[in-house]
């Protein structure tokens, strides 16, 4: 933890310059030690995640407001989503969280190659998720379920509900899953950089903050999906 300047002076005085030279190369000069540096990094990452919670929170709020307003249209819209693909993607994403956690573990126990492998597996599973998402999106384009001037006017697809209200469901579907997918694209980019650094041996049990913090981000994105999946896909499941 942070020490007062007097402590720091005595600390430095008690150790010869040789100790200074032995400092871990990843230790930034404004931190006392690697532990304090890791705590700061984790705290900073969590503060960012708080803003992310509220970022997505606004969309979940919009969903709740419209869902209670246009309940029947939302059930009809949800009914039209592919639950099977949603379930597969949930499994894929939870699997990627496992490989991410294992990547952090591998760095913690100094297994360089395992760290790289788990990071690459996480990228792969993230890619599979985005691929399946792309298949779903293309189905929606094909079925004219993308909000806008081409949104379906075929009442037989959604009998008994206002199509404008179904369009609101699909607006929220595309914005929420789209923002989620954007986060995954960013995450995959960061993971690719991490994999290169991990391969070069930058991370070890003494220093793996970037792996840990990227893990926090990746797991957060997983949690967003954990809530999106039931709210979007399972809402109309019992009406099948």
């Amino acid at each position: 933890m942070a020490s007062v300047p007097a402590d720091r002076q005595s600390h430095h005085a008690a150790h010869p310059p040789a100790h200074q030279a032995a400092h871990h190369p990843a230790l930034q000069h404004h931190f006392d030690n690697l532990e304090q540096q890791k705590e700061s990094a984790t705290f900073g990452m969590w503060l960012f995640l708080v803003t992310e919670v509220l970022f997505f929170g606004g969309l979940f709020l919009a969903y709740l407001v419209y869902r209670t307003q246009y309940s029947a249209a939302f059930v009809a819209g949800s009914h039209h989503l592919d639950v099977k693909l949603g379930v597969i993607n949930t499994g894929v994403l939870i699997g990627s969280s496992l490989t991410m956690a294992m990547g952090v573990w591998a760095a913690q126990v100094n297994r360089r190659k395992a760290t790289v492998v788990f990071l690459l597996l996480t990228i792969l599973l993230g890619g599979v998720f985005l691929g399946i998402k792309g298949v779903e999106y293309s189905h929606k384009f094909h079925d004219n379920l993308v909000p806008g001037p081409h949104f379906t006017t075929d009442q037989s697809v959604f009998p008994g509900v206002n199509l404008r209200h179904v369009e609101i469901f699909y607006s929220l579907y595309f914005i929420m899953t789209g923002l989620h997918a954007t986060h995954m694209v960013v995450g995959i980019g960061i993971l690719a950089v991490l994999a290169v650094f991990a391969w070069r041996g930058k991370y070890s049990s003494a220093y793996y903050n970037p792996v840990e913090c990227t893990g926090l981000y990746w797991h957060f994105v997983d949690i967003v999906w954990i809530f999106l999946f039931p709210l979007l896909y399972l809402l109309g499941a019992h009406a099948r």
Binding site: F43, V50, G91, L216, H219, I226, P230, H238
Partner: protein
Amino acid sequence: MSEHVSSPKFYFLIFAALMVLTAATVWVATLDLGAANDIVAMAVAVTKATLVVLFFMHVRYSTRLTALTVLASLFWLGLLLLVTLSDYWTRGIVGIPGK
């Protein structure tokens, strides 16, 4: 450094629990329970999220500052939802003169 390192076996256990909960929530969704469908689905989602936060995100072994930050995010999210929905979800319950 007093770093907690979870074993791979433990991570696989959490993964298995998350998959079982996913299967459970999909199965429950096929039953028509009325309003209880949503309650069960959200309860399962909150349970899954808690497992991820505590163990994959290591909050169970982190400093109090981190735990407090996580709780702060829930507090602000709660405010956002509570204050807004207490308006939208109560419209029509109370008669507003002149409206």
